[in-house]
Symmetry: C2
Subunit: 364 residues, 2 copies
DNA sequence: ATAAGTGATGCACACGTGTGCATTAGTACC
DNA sequence: GGTACTAATGCACACGTGTGCATCACTTAT
C-alpha cells in the first residue's frame, strides 16, 4: 500500500493539508516546516497518486497518441518527437494502434476518454469524424498529424507534401526525364492526393501531359504493393523512364522488382521515394527521396497540444451543452478559439536511384 | 464537465450507489432498474472516470511499457504484440522511451509509479537494478523482454538467441565456410553474448578454432556500426569469407559496405543478420537471417503480466515492509511466487546473402 | 491593555466511484 | 396477524489529494 500524504503528516506531526501545501511549495507554510516535510517525504519514498490528483484537478498529466500502426517506422520517428517533448514537460503518453479498424478506434477513444487524457494527437490517416466528436464532447483538444482531412480539424501539423512532390518531380525533369509516372497508395487518402497533385502541377508547369495510365494507385503502402505497382508500369506498351513513389517502403519494393527484372538503377530506370525513413539510405543503390522532418513534426504536434492546454484553463469551465454547432470548441474559450495549422517543409535528398534517362529508349 | 453516476442517478431517480451497482451488473438490482439505468447512461453519454475508479480499486487498468528507442523497428513489432493483447483485455498502455539515459529512466519509473500502472513490461536491454527496485517497492509486477540480466528478474520472456545463433552458424558451416567471423554490438549486453556464445559453440562443435580477431564488438547496433565493422574485418590480413552479424540493421550496413567495396554477395562473401525486421526481405540481395517471433514475444509478455495481475489479488494486501530480502516479491503472496521464464524459439530464414564460399580464396 | 494585524496551521469538504450495512417493502409461513 | 425471510434500494464512508475558511499564536501599533 503506497505511502500517502497522511502517512507523511503523521510522521511529521502536522495535518495532511500542510503536507500537501508544503510539497507544492506554498508560501503559506514556514520554510523549515517545508524542509522537514520534504525530508520525511523522501525518507518514506512518497510518490503522489496521479489518480487522486487527477480526480481533484481534472488534469491527468497524460496525452493520448493514436497511431494507425506501430510497425510502420514512419510513425516510430514521429512518436519519438512526441515522446521527447511530452517527457520534457512531464506528461505521460497513452499509446494505441487503430490498425485501420473502426471498432478498435472506437475502443481506443473510449479508453482514452475514461482515462481523461488532457489532449490527443492523432497520427492515423483514417480517423472517423464519429470518434472525433466523442473527444470534442469531452473538451479534449485534438491535434492531427498529416491527416487526410486536416481542414476538418482546427489544429493540425502537417508536412507540405505538395511542395515535396513538386521538388521530387522537378529533380527528375531537370535530369531530362519526360516519361514520369506516379505510384500512389489509395488507402492513405489525402496524402497521396497531395503528392499526386504536386507531381501533376510540376509536370504541367513543364508543359508535359501525363497520360492517365501513368498514374496508378495501389491499395496499400508497403513493399509488396510497390513491387506489384512496378509490374503494372512495366507491362505498359510504353513504360515510363522514371517512377515517383508514394513513399520509401513502396520504392523499396520497386527497387527489388527492378533488380529481379534485371533493369539497372539508375542507368536504365530512375526511382524516388518519400519520407526518408532510416533504411532509405541503405537500399541498393541508396534511395533518392524527400526528407520529411518526422521527429520535428512529432515535436511540434506535442508542443501544440501543450499550448492548447495552457490556454484552456480547465475542463470544467466549459458550458455543459457543448454540442452546439459544428465547431471544435464551444464558444467562450476566448483567445484560443482561432484554428492553428502549421505546415512544415522538408528537403530533397538526392542519392543514387536517379540519373539522366537512358540515351536510347525503346521508342523515340 | 463530464457526466458522472450522480447525474445518472438524478435522472433515473435512484441513488448513485444503485447506479454504480447497475452498471456493474450486480444481481442485487432489479432487472428492469438495471435496464433503465443503462439506458439513461447511454443517453447521457456516460463514461466512467478511470481516476476515480483507480483511486477506489487500486487498479489503473493500465500497463507501462518501457522501451529503449521507439525508432528501432524491432521494438515496434514487439510493441504491436503487446498492444494487441492489452487492448483485447481492455488495458491501456503507457509508453516511454529511455534512450539509454539513466536520468530518463528514473523519470519514467517515477511517472509510471505515480500513475500506478498495474504492471510493467521492460523492453530496454539496459535497465538498471536501481529503478527496478522502485517498481518492486510498489509491488508492481515486472516482465522483461530479452533483457541482458534476465535471471535477475523472476518473470521474463526471451528469445533463444543461443539456439538461433547456432542455427545461423551451422547454416554457414553446411555451406562450406570455415573462416567465419562475428560482429557484435557491445551496448546490447547479454544479447550479444548469447549470440556470440551460440556462434562459438557451433564452431567448436565443428572442430574449428575462432581466431580472436574474428570476433569484433561494435559500440552500437545500427547500419553505421555494421559498415565500420566490415571495414575492420576486410582490413585483416586474412579476412573471413562469411560474417555473422548481431542483427539485421548491422547486416544492412555490411551489405552496403560490401557493395561499395565491389565485393559480390553472396558469391564472394556471405552475410547473415538476426531478427528478421521487415526490411531484411528487401535488401539487395535479400538477407539471410533468423526470424525472431517478435510479435509473439510481445504478446506473450503481455499475457504474462496479465496473468500475474490475476494471481496477485490486490496491491494493498502486501505487507508494507516489502523491502526485506532481495526477492522480487515479498513472501506470502502464495502460489504466484515461483518465477516464470519463457524462452521462445525462432526459425532460420535462408534468403540470398549466403552461398558456398568462393572456390579460390586468396590463401588456401 | 486592547485592537488590529500577520504568519502558520488545522478543519472540513469536494472530486467520482465502490461497498458494507441499514432500511424498506413485499412475501411466505406458522 | 405476527415473524422470518428475501429482494431492492439508500445511507454513509472510504480512497488520496487540493483548497477555502477558520483558528491559533504571536507581533505591532494605539
Amino acid at each position: 500500500m503506497p505511502v500517502t500524504i497522511k502517512d507523511i503528516a503523521k510522521r511529521a506531526e502536522v495535518s495532511h493539508s500542510t503536507v500537501s501545501r508544503a510539497l507544492h511549495g506554498s508560501s503559506l507554510i514556514a520554510k523549515n516546516t517545508v524542509e522537514r516535510i520534504r525530508q520525511t517525504a523522501r525518507e518514506l519514498g512518497y510518490l503522489p497518486s496521479a489518480a487522486a490528483r487527477s480526480l481533484k484537478t481534472n488534469r491527468s498529466q497524460a496525452l493520448g497518441v493514436i497511431v494507425s500502426s506501430v510497425e510502420d517506422p514512419f510513425f516510430g520517428e514521429i512518436l519519438q518527437g512526441i515522446e521527447e517533448v511530452a517527457q520534457k514537460n512531464s506528461y505521460s503518453l497513452f499509446m494505441a494502434a487503430s490498425q485501420h479498424d473502426p471498432q478498435r478506434e472506437q475502443a481506443i477513444v473510449q479508453a482514452m476518454s475514461e482515462h481523461r487524457v488532457d489532449g490527443v494527437i492523432i497520427c492515423s490517416a483514417s480517423f472517423k469524424a464519429e470518434q472525433r466528436r466523442q473527444f470534442l464532447a469531452y473538451g479534449v483538444p485534438i491535434v492531427v498529424v498529416n491527416n487526410q482531412a486536416a481542414e476538418d480539424y482546427r489544429y493540425s501539423i502537417y508536412h507540405d507534401d505538395v511542395d515535396g512532390s513538386r521538388q521530387i518531380t522537378r529533380h527528375l525533369l531537370d535530369l531530362g526525364h519526360r516519361r514520369i509516372a506516379y505510384l500512389g497508395n489509395s488507402s492513405s487518402g489525402r496524402t497521396t492526393l497531395d503528392r499526386l497533385n504536386g507531381f501533376q502541377q510540376e509536370m504541367g508547369a513543364a508543359g508535359l501531359a501525363v497520360p492517365p495510365e501513368y498514374i496508378h494507385e495501389a491499395s496499400g503502402g508497403g513493399p509488396e504493393e510497390g513491387l506489384a505497382g512496378l509490374e503494372y508500369f512495366l507491362a505498359l506498351s510504353y513504360p515510363p523512364s522514371a517512377l515517383v513513389c508514394f513513399n520509401d517502403m513502396m520504392a523499396i519494393g520497386v527497387l527489388k522488382g527492378l533488380q529481379q527484372a534485371g533493369i539497372q538503377v539508375p542507368d536504365e530506370f530512375s526511382v524516388t521515394g518519400f519520407d526518408n525513413i532510416v533504411f532509405s539510405a541503405f537500399t541498393n543503390p541508396p534511395l533518392t527521396t524527400f526528407d520529411q522532418p518526422k521527429r520535428f513534426i512529432g515535436a511540434e504536434a506535442a508542443r501544440l497540444v501543450l499550448e492548447l492546454l495552457d490556454a484552456q484553463p480547465s475542463r470544467d469551465t466549459l458550458e455543459p451543452n457543448a454540442s452546439s454547432g459544428n465547431r471544435d470548441y464551444p464558444a467562450g474559450t476566448g483567445t484560443t478559439t482561432q484554428p492553428r495549422v502549421r505546415m512544415l517543409k522538408g528537403r530533397l535528398l538526392v542519392r543514387e536511384t536517379t540519373a539522366k534517362p537512358a540515351p536510347s529508349p525503346r521508342k523515340p
